[in-house]
Symmetry: C2
Subunit: 259 residues, 2 copies
Amino acid sequence: MAERSAGEGRRERLRRETWRDLRAAALAEVRDVGAAGLSLRSVARRLGMSPAGLYRYVDSREALLTVLIADGYHDLADHLVVALGAGADELRAEERAAPQVPVVAPPDAGTTARLEAVGLAYRAWGVSHPNEFGLLFGDPIPGYAAPEGGVTVEAMRRVGIAFAQPILELHAAGELALHPALGAREIVGQMGPMVDLGASMPAEVAALLLLAWGRLHGQVSLEVFGQHHWLMPDGCEALYRAELARMLVELRAVPEPAT
Amino acid sequence: MAERSAGEGRRERLRRETWRDLRAAALAEVRDVGAAGLSLRSVARRLGMSPAGLYRYVDSREALLTVLIADGYHDLADHLVVALGAGADELRAEERAAPQVPVVAPPDAGTTARLEAVGLAYRAWGVSHPNEFGLLFGDPIPGYAAPEGGVTVEAMRRVGIAFAQPILELHAAGELALHPALGAREIVGQMGPMVDLGASMPAEVAALLLLAWGRLHGQVSLEVFGQHHWLMPDGCEALYRAELARMLVELRAVPEPAT
DNA sequence: CTCACCAGCGAACACCGTTCGCACTTCACC
DNA sequence: GGTGAAGTGCGAACGGTGTTCGCTGGTGAG
């Protein structure tokens, strides 16, 4: 009786819907009990399925976590992209509403403002999604979860690109502080034989990008994982804003004093 | 027949030895399979004990992990203290050999050199103890592992102190760059009602200390947790050294240009 | 209409953390 | 020295977990 539109049979549709529900249930479980506490049986209960039934959709618990990791990177990347003030057309092509981000750079904002917005959005996402943050950036899964050229690296590239975009703009405008003493040659030398940082990404800029990401990540990581909780129980926003401001200053080229 | 020396009965001695072996076995287990994979039954097997027997020494798996976390912080702190070039007398009073640290500042080294040594030791410990690093700085234990004024915070204070020492020296020498724009007042305002940073630790210095720690921690965290593995499979030493050097420069006061 | 396919299920296996009651040793006290 | 309390370890058990296997019954293509 169904209309059979466009070769999408009833079975395929049901399967896709179940698959979507499964991921949503698993994500909810992670939000509730954390990645380490995710239990396939509990996910099955949420879905009203039998535990064995899940294995029609997922190879193992670890595989499910890998899917959630990729989803998590995409969600984070979406938030960063929105904070950049970009149009919603750069979002992931997926059935997902545009995320609500507290600080969004206005479309005509300067490069520095956009970089600041991305930095703030990074912390905001981590603080408001602590278990997902732990899933992405905490202990790797016990048995290892490094799928070679898999779906997760592709997703985390999007996060890197969000950070890279304003930094590349800064570089294009000649406002990025590139010290030759950085030792970019050695750093890039440690990179894999062929890491294709698009053509417009010089090695020094790539190194600066990694350093900037790590610098912000350290603050967020210590805060989200509770390392500062006994010191600052109400969160570390002031600390983070201070570091972000310092970083923005130091990233910009200071005109050399005439010697 | 035993000599019963100094009120230490046979039973207490055996108990202490078993307790030491238990912690060693659990640590070995963590090193092998990671914190998330630690299994009490497996620890019991290593000891040739029954699983139930462990409960004479440990209240639960979580409690054992808490002990390991405290041990881990002490081990890390020991490494940092050694790197500082301090005498072994500042090490933790425990039956433990002084750790071997690759870079040790000579006893008469300048403050900057000692700070650099601590920074390098931090990464060196993380890279060579990835699973313990994950235990300390990865996801908090699913059910939470924040013992209020417990043994772990005391241990992680030692880590903070190791970082603080050279920074305080820098401050005492008037060589620490303290920007009023840092907003130290707000930052310290977010700190708990009474955090006793010893008398010689001004608020601005405390803020700078947290920022410096986080800055280095971010790099180590991303590297140890494998976030950069696809980019730099052979480790990120060059990247880290660059960031450490930049940080050392920026921490030192630049003499104000005469206006 | 037929028949391959496939989602889902129940039962089972091995492993896990944890509890309980029981043997056995050690120690303190009379 | 004898006696009773305290401590140590064990085996069995319970409920939970991830995962596999063989089965049923509906789906969809020829």
